[in-house]
Amino acid sequence: MTPTAEPPATGPSAFLPRSFRVAAVHRETAETRTLELQPVDGRPAPAFVPGQFTMVYVFGVGEVPMSITGDPARDDRLVHTVRVVGAVSRAIAGLRRGAEIGIRGPFGRGWPLTEALGRDLIIVAGGVGLAPLRPVIYHVRAHRAAFGRVSVLYGARTPDELLYRRELARWRRDGAIDLQVTVDRASAGWTGLVGVPTLRLRQLTIDPARTLALTCGPEVMMRYAVRELEHCGLDAAQVHLSMERNMQCAVGLCGHCQFGPDFLCRSGPVLRADRVLPRLAIREL
C-alpha cells in the first residue's frame, strides 16, 4: 500500500533524460504553474515515493530539481509545480501544451509513509512547500483508514498565493482530513484564517506518542514548526522536513547539494529534524 519506487538511480540511465510531453498546464498563482507531463515513449511514468524529486531539463536552457507533486497512484503522468525563481524555472513555467522536456529520476528519499501507518499525522506547509506534500495528502486520502488523525496546516502570504485552491476547497468540504488554511495578509473577501500556520499547532489535539509530523516550506518556518511541535510534546525525531538545495547531478556525485555531512539529493530531500535542525541555524551552510 505504501508507494514504492526504484532506489535512486546510479547507473548511466540516471544521467539520460527521458522525453516527456506537456499534457496540461494549470495556473496556480501569478508565479506558479503546475504541469502534467506524459512520457513520449508511451510507457508508464516512473513510480515515485511522495517527497522524491526529478531533474527537469528544458532543452537548450538548463536543468533544475523539482519535487513531484502528483498522485503516486497514477502512472499515466508525472506532475510538477514550478515557481518562477530563475531562467530555467521561467522557461518551464512558460511551456505550452505539447512541448517536450527531459526528465531524470525520480531521486532522493521521500516522506516516511511506512513509519506513518497507523499514526496521527501533522502536516505543516508554507507557500510552495505544499507542493512536495501534496502526494502525501493524495496517498493518505486514498488510504484513509490506515492513518489516525490527519491535520494539515497550510499557510501562504496572501490568498492569491495559495496553491491548489480548488483541491483545498474540496478537501475541506469532504472532511477526510482536518485542513486549516491561513494567510499572513488577508485581502478583501477572505473569510478564512489569518496568521502563521505554526501558531495553530498548539490548538490541535495531539497525542505525542502516536504522532508523526511532516513539514515543508521556508526554512525559517520549518525551524519554528519543529520548535512548536517540540513544545507540543513531540521529539524532533518525530518530525521530518524537506530541504531544498542546489541539486545538479542528483546522484550524490557532484556535491553541489552538500549540507554538512549530507548530500541532499541522496540523503534527502526529506530528512529527520533531529538530524538536520542543528545545521539549519548555521549561516551560509
Binding site: A156, W190, V196, T198, L199, G217, P218, V220
Partner: protein, 152 residues
C-alpha cells in the same frame, strides 16, 4: 446546579490552573455567543472582559478610512484579549465574529480584584498571558519576515 466549571476546565487556558483557581475563575465567568459579523468589542471601548473561545472564529481587525485589515484570527482553544490587564483598560483593535462563535467571558474587574487579594492567582494569570503574548509576538515576527518570499 450546572456551573461553567466543566466548560472552563476543558479549555486549554485552564490546563495549568489549580482546582482552587479554576473555582475562582468560575465566579467571574459567563457563557456568551456571537453571531457571524457581530462585534465582540471595538477599538477604544473599555476592556472589561477577556474571552476563552470554545468554537467558531474571531477576527482581530483595524478599520482604516478605506478598508478593514484583519491582523489575525483566533479559533477554538484560543484566548481573546489582554487589554483588560493593563491600564487604561481599553481595546486596541476591533474583534468581530467571522462565524457563529461560542466563548466564556471572564469579567475583568472581578479578576483584577481577586488577583490583588490573591497574588498566587494573579501570578498564574500573568504567566498564562505572558506566554500568550510571547507566542503572538513570535507569530507577528514571522509574518513580518515575509518568509514565503525568500528562497528557502
Amino acid at each position: 446546579m450546572d456551573t461553567l466549571e466543566p466548560l472552563l476546565a476543558a479549555h486549554p487556558f485552564a490546563r495549568h490552573l489549580s482546582a482552587a483557581h479554576l473555582h475562582v475563575l468560575v465566579g467571574c465567568a459567563r457563557n456568551v455567543r456571537f453571531d457571524a459579523g457581530q462585534f465582540v468589542f471595538r477599538e477604544g471601548e473599555r476592556a472589561d472582559a477577556f474571552y476563552l473561545i470554545r468554537d467558531g472564529c474571531i477576527a482581530l481587525e483595524v478599520a482604516t478610512p478605506t478598508t478593514t485589515l484583519t491582523m489575525m484570527t483566533l479559533g477554538a482553544g484560543e484566548v481573546l484579549g489582554w487589554s483588560w490587564l493593563f491600564p487604561p483598560y481599553r481595546w486596541k483593535f476591533d474583534a468581530r465574529a467571522v462565524e457563529p462563535t461560542r466563548a466564556i467571558a471572564l469579567d475583568a474587574q472581578c479578576l483584577r480584584t481577586k488577583s490583588e487579594t490573591d497574588h498566587d492567582l494573579g501570578y498564574e494569570l500573568l504567566k498564562q498571558f505572558a506566554l500568550m503574548v510571547e507566542q503572538r509576538l513570535h507569530a507577528t515576527r514571522l509574518q513580518l519576515l515575509n518568509a514565503y518570499d525568500a528562497n528557502g
